[in-house]
Symmetry: C2
Amino acid sequence: MKRSLEHIEYKEDTEALAKFAKALAHPTRIAILKYLENQSCCFTGDLVDVLPISQSTVSQHLKELKNAGLIQGELKPPKIKYCINQDNWKTAKTLFQQFFD
Amino acid sequence: MKRSLEHIEYKEDTEALAKFAKALAHPTRIAILKYLENQSCCFTGDLVDVLPISQSTVSQHLKELKNAGLIQGELKPPKIKYCINQDNWKTAKTLFQQFFD
DNA sequence: AAAACCTATCGTATATTTGCGATAAACATT
DNA sequence: AATGTTTATCGCAAATATACGATAGGTTTT
């Protein structure tokens, strides 16, 4: 490939902010998070009902938000309850605030 | 293709926020904007000196930031002076603030 | 006019993202 | 044990993003 073989490193805060921004870089994920902010928590199925995309795609977006640390899932068999991860949410909020002055 | 033929629509604010987030979704672009925040303005060459990537790649990232409306270029022959677009910056700031409560 | 300088764009290669249907996995209920 | 419910994952296809070198298009300087 033509891309650099070694991963380019930036400052920790820069990388962290970019990572959070990436998690927010799709309207579906924004919609999910807005929904979670209102409901505080919800099940995957609730989102599937609300969003205009398939269940598997919703699940994939949830996975990304989970990987970014913005949400967390709790087993409530047979469902899974998703909530915002308040700690990381606060971290993201702070990073964006600092960034925008 | 397997993806939906029609573009899925979300609320205007949701789309706008996702678009700004996408522009911020790469550490290089965060680094560029941070640099611009300090300097208020700079030339492309300044960024090429500072960043660990090639000139063409820097230019590409600048283009994306310009497309997102976060920066603007002004011809200062033979250079181009880039500054933050204060209006859109404020819009983005507000959107993120509202989003994070 | 020629040379030098600065930046954007083109062409290319690769990686990642997005989306779907199908299927699997986990658990509860019957 | 069999069935139903719910969600994650797999496999695939297409679009988008990332990166580079080479080149083109301006402008200034010589």
